[in-house]
């Protein structure tokens, strides 16, 4: 029913037979003066452009003309303007012409190239197949970084395979299977630690003298720069647990001196929040035990009381060879520097004899109020036996675990889940072959079965989404559709319900497909889509790759802002999806989601009422002119800047590409780059104005820059500002013969280093004023705005359709695993119309896209 409707809409409009004449007249009247064969302004000549359209090139040209006319960017303002009805008639004629041509060339291209699982999909698949988290193993840690295409990490063509990767596939399968299924059952053991807590070598002296290693102390958050006590390990438990398993952990710990009278600025954290204790694994074979390690999922967290030690209990998963490490996620930033500063500012408070180098850590621990976490007792017990066998044993071999008599059946059943489809004889044969081969080589039946599992996990049927149909057919077959849907919405293999629907074949029917889609969107696992899609569409994946300077953005590090920034966008998206809210709210909206950290960053009233433990809350932005919509979110504002300074060009291009779906051409080679300058002589707007005085530059910049000017009132990490940073008044030239400096040795130089850091900056002579930011702009189509709020209004009222179409395009690209081509435009336009008629709901948009021909085709 729906599909039928969908095709008939298109043919309604093509009643007018005189479209070719209309197009010729319009071009002649308004365009040919500049775009004939002689002048070819902007490399465009419409001399041979005529309806009906025959080639892909002419389709692209038509699309270009439509875009330009839609935006009123052409004809140029100084030229004769077509009347509104003329313009619309032209656009309509071109759209109809494109639709007709589209049907003719529809049969070519637009197919998804067989794609392998991306690293994250691969890891999710293993976690599903083995019934437990696998992130503690870091199986993909050494995989090559996934290649993306226009930020998308699901594109079949770009997901390449190399010898290195195939080798890694085997190593990963081998490690997973041997650690989780290859070890004999082990009796639980007890460990107890309450002394000899030797820590980081630089802390040894002070901890010996202050309390003879009686306590395990954590002084700072794990991502501090100069490390001094960010990870607390157990010196007598370095080798870790003997086998992978669940372990019960009891920790006696206390928050120390959260009420310290020392200046909170020294520590850079929020002392109104209770201290948090976290547990992460550590592995001495994988790197320094006091440093961040590649495999470091947070196993558990808890808050600690201030008045007296409390015993906290956890049950955590540890892999063979992993030990426990304790962290202080909301702890002070850079404890080393803090100790130095305390020495300088509070020396007089100390009674005991002060050594030559001043008050050291031991001294402060004995007499002072240094905030930290103190652990006094640790008990570990495990592995905890699991009833009926381990989760992996049951997930892989079924209830009752491995059975020699049914080994091949069990292996085949596993392969069916791994391949996401029923097996053919040709699938069973190699499994049997390797099992028997290994038995013949005197392996135990269990070992032979484990080796057969490794084969299954290296098979192309597991690693690739092979969508096979008759060459002439387009529609995906039931099992392929189930897999595509599942990886699209959950980033995991299909669950039982989906496979059942594929088995009966019902999944290819509209009603059933819609039912499955609705079910999957309502499921928690939809986070697999939300996170993956936002990383792809908005490139949030790269958040954190362009670090801002520490001296101006300490909170970015001390409060781990990138992770809050990401959460805001994800929460906002999920909320919109849940309520089927209009996608127009991505452009402007009167609410968002913030935690305490973002409330502070955004200067919202909630910064006073929110607690860290509240996590994210929906907050109203009514009357707030600084926030609302994606472009007011710190994540977007950070990822569209370079961490150090902002420019309307970079952010403008970002908005153009990711919000409006228009990719500006790359700058030509010959154009001089726009140099950043902090001397204060000119603002970026003035430098851009100079740049745009050149007509060739202006051609693109008049379209790009207006999209970025309004965002200049946000600094590189998305904080609101009304002035640029005060220029540096120092005009003296750089010293010519600078000698390469010697590295300051870390060890024992604590004090020296600190002194230079804490030295008050020499007063700058005659500081020039900070330049005020002008956030106004004018679109080439004539609309003007004065600030961020009025900019959003322009986008909402004039470019909402562009945005919706782009969102649809990106959604289809991500979920099908291929870029949308010209031949898809027709369907995309139809989808946009349909979604618009139904009120632009985000869920509506997703459901309609997933029901569409494009998604259901090979």
């Amino acid at each position: 029913m729906r599909v039928a409707l969908f095709f008939s809409v298109a043919s309604l409009a093509t009643a007018a037979g005189d479209n070719p004449k209309l197009v010729q007249q319009f071009l002649g009247k308004y365009c040919m003066e500049c775009h004939d064969a002689d002048v070819q302004k902007g490399d465009r000549s419409f001399e041979g452009f005529t309806l009906p359209l025959h080639s892909t090139e002419s389709l692209i040209e038509a699309r270009d003309i439509i875009d330009q006319l839609t935006l009123k960017e052409m004809p140029p303002k100084k030229a004769d303007q077509p009347k509104d009805d003329e313009r619309l008639a032209m656009i309509r004629a071109l759209r109809d012409g494109s639709a007709t041509a589209f049907r003719k060339i529809q049969s070519t291209g637009s197919r998804t190239v067989m794609r392998r699982l991306s690293s994250r999909e691969y890891e999710n698949s293993l976690a599903t197949l083995f019934g437990r988290r696998v992130d503690t193993l870091g199986l993909t840690a050494d995989f090559p970084k996934e290649k993306t295409s226009e930020h998308m990490d699901t594109i079949g063509k770009t997901l390449v395979t190399s010898g290195f990767l195939v080798d890694q596939y085997f190593q990963a399968a081998n490690r997973l299977i041997e650690t989780r299924l290859g070890k004999p059952a082990t009796e639980p053991k007890n460990w107890h630690f309450d002394s000899h807590f030797v820590q980081y070598e630089e802390l040894e002296g002070s901890h010996k003298s202050a309390f003879n290693f009686r306590y395990l102390n954590i002084y700072e958050q794990p991502n501090s720069d100069t490390r001094q006590g960010g990870y607390a390990h157990i010196q007598d438990f370095l080798k870790g647990v003997p086998v992978s398993g669940l372990y019960d952990v009891e920790v006696e710990a206390q928050a120390m001196h959260r009420d310290t009278h020392y200046d909170p600025k020294i520590f850079g954290i929020d002392f109104s929040e209770p201290f948090i204790l976290g547990l992460v694994p550590g592995d001495i074979t994988k790197g320094h035990i006091h440093y961040p390690q590649p495999i470091e999922p947070i196993l558990a967290t808890t808050t600690l009381p201030d008045d007296k030690p409390a015993v906290k209990k956890f049950r955590v998963w540890l892999e063979a060879g992993q030990t426990l490490r304790f962290i202080f996620p909301n702890g002070p930033y850079e404890s080393r520097a803090a100790v130095v500063t305390i020495n300088q500012r509070y020396k007089d408070e100390f009674k005991g004899e002060i050594g030559r180098s001043g008050v050291g850590r031991a001294h402060i621990l004995r007499e002072g109020k240094l905030p930290h976490i103190r652990i006094s007792d640790i008990k570990i017990n495990g592995p905890v036996p699991e009833e009926g066998g381990s989760a992996e044993e049951i997930a892989v071999f079924g209830k009752g675990g491995f059975q020699v008599d049914h080994a091949l059946d069990q292996l085949n059943a596993f392969a069916e889940k791994a391949y996401r489809r029923p097996l053919a004889d040709a699938d069973r044969q190699p499994i049997r072959a390797i099992y028997e081969k290994r038995i013949a080589e005197k392996a135990t039946p269990r070992q032979a079965a484990l080796d057969a599992l490794k084969l299954i996990l290296c098979s192309p049927s597991f690693l690739y989404l092979s969508e096979i149909t008759e060459e002439s057919a387009k529609a995906l077959r039931p099992y392929d559709l189930a897999s595509r849907l599942s990886f699209a919405l959950w980033a995991t293999p299909p669950d039982e319900a989906l496979l059942a629907s594929a088995k009966s074949g019902e999944i290819t029917e509209d009603a059933e497909l819609r039912k499955q889609v609705e079910r999957m969107i309502a499921d928690e696992r939809i986070s697999g889509f939300v996170n993956g899609f936002l990383d792809s569409w908005l490139n949030l994946r790269d958040l954190g790759s362009q670090p801002p300077p520490r001296e101006t953005s300490l909170s970015y590090y001390a409060e781990d802002l990138p992770s809050s920034m990401k959460s805001e966008v994800r929460m906002f998206f999920r909320d919109l999806l849940k309520n089927n809210g209009s996608v127009a709210q991505f452009i402007d909206c009167e609410h968002t989601f913030v935690d305490k950290k973002l409330a502070k960053l955004y200067n919202l009233p909630e910064q006073k009422t929110l607690r860290l433990a509240d996590g994210f809350q929906k907050v109203s932005l009514k009357g707030n002119k600084q926030r609302g919509g994606l472009l007011g979110m710190a994540g977007v504002l950070t990822v569209s800047a370079n961490g150090v300074e902002t420019t309307p060009v970079t952010r403008g291009v970002w908005v153009s590409e990711n919000i409006l779906g228009i990719a500006p051409p790359p700058p030509p080679d010959v154009v001089p780059a726009i140099d950043a300058d902090v001397s204060g002589a000119t603002t970026i707007r003035e430098r851009l104005a100079k740049h745009r005085a050149d007509n060739a530059c202006a051609e693109c910049h008049r379209k790009i820059d207006p999209l970025g000017f309004s965002l200049e009132t946000f600094d590189p990490i998305g904080r609101w500002r009304i002035t640029y940073p005060r220029p540096n008044g120092n005009k003296s030239a750089a010293p010519k013969n600078a000698k390469a400096p010697e590295p300051t040795k870390e060890k024992g130089k604590e004090n020296e280093k600190g002194k230079s850091e804490a030295k008050p900056a020499a007063p700058k002579k005659e500081q020039p004023p900070a330049p005020k930011i002008d956030s106004s702009g004018e679109f080439p189509s004539g609309e003007t705005y004065t600030d961020f709020a009025s900019f959003k209004k322009v986008i909402s009222t004039t470019r909402e359709d562009l945005f919706t179409r782009h969102l649809i395009r990106q959604f289809l690209t991500y979920t099908t695993g291929r870029h949308m081509e010209l031949a898809d435009d027709y369907v995309i336009d139809q989808l946009q119309e349909k979604v618009k008629q139904q009120g632009l709901g985000l869920k509506t948009l997703m459901v309609e896209c997933l029901m569409s021909e494009v998604f259901r085709s090979r």
């Binding site: 010898g163 081998n174 190699p430 300074e645 120092n730 400096p741 590295p743």
Partner: protein
């Protein structure tokens, strides 16, 4: 060793699998399966190499395993490690990236590397940048000298090693990735001159041409790499 044996059996098997699949898939997918099969064959070669490495006599380390300090202090040590690895033929390729974990504060410079690279033409930042780059270059120079003092058969290790040092940006302040500063040492090239090549027009010489040159000198039969337009010379 047992592992290698199992892996070899598995590789044989999946290759057959892929071949079979390749006959069923649609034409746009064939290339992907070819890519997979080529990769599998490549792993078979890797297994051979791994096998050979297990029986290869390992050199004795001339010093105790050092502990990490920070990238700045460790830089000379990393260069020494590379020199020793090349000398003992433990590897023939080595790369060293001096990136975001190069903390200028360990040189007594207060700002961070990324921030300094966007210096905004501030003389103070430029001075800091010069200081820290000088440090990097000095140690690169020491490394090259070290190679020139090591023997590799009849010639020096430097003669048989092409050493390239450079940056992916000509000017990080304007984020310009043309006019890259590049030093080439060793590798039996004629040295001692500054080469400036045409940067525009049909005769322009992209850096990739140099890579083609080096690859060919190393015996790799290829006439293109990335955006190359020919050889460098």
């Amino acid at each position: 060793v047992q592992e290698n044996h199992v892996q070899a059996s598995i590789l044989d098997s999946v290759l057959v699998d892929a071949n079979r699949l390749s006959k069923q898939v649609n034409k746009e997918d064939k290339d992907k399966l070819d890519e997979y099969m080529t990769s599998v064959r490549d792993v078979e070669k890797r297994l051979e190499l791994r096998q050979r490495w297990t029986s290869h006599p390992k050199p004795k380390a001339p010093f105790e395993k050092p502990s990490n300090h920070n990238f700045v202090e460790d830089l000379p040590l990393l260069y020494e490690l590379i020199a020793l690895a090349l000398q003992t033929d433990s590897t023939r390729i080595a790369t060293l990236e001096i990136g975001g974990d190069f903390m200028p504060q360990n040189l007594g410079i207060k700002k961070d590397y990324h921030g300094l690279s966007h210096h905004g033409n501030d003389p103070e930042s430029i001075a800091s940048l010069i200081a820290l780059e000088k440090y990097q270059i000095e140690h690169f120079g020491k490394f090259v000298t070290r190679l020139s003092k090591m023997n590799d058969g009849e010639r020096t290790l430097l003669d048989s090693t092409a050493v390239i040092f450079g940056s992916g940006m000509g000017d990080a302040n304007s984020h310009k990735n043309s006019d890259l500063p590049i030093i080439l040492a060793g590798g039996d090239y004629k040295h001692g001159e500054f080469r400036e090549v045409p940067r525009e027009g049909i005769n322009k010489v992209p850096l990739c041409n140099l890579f083609v040159d080096i690859a060919q000198k190393m015996g790799v039969e290829t006439d293109s790499f990335g955006s190359s337009t020919g050889r460098f010379a």
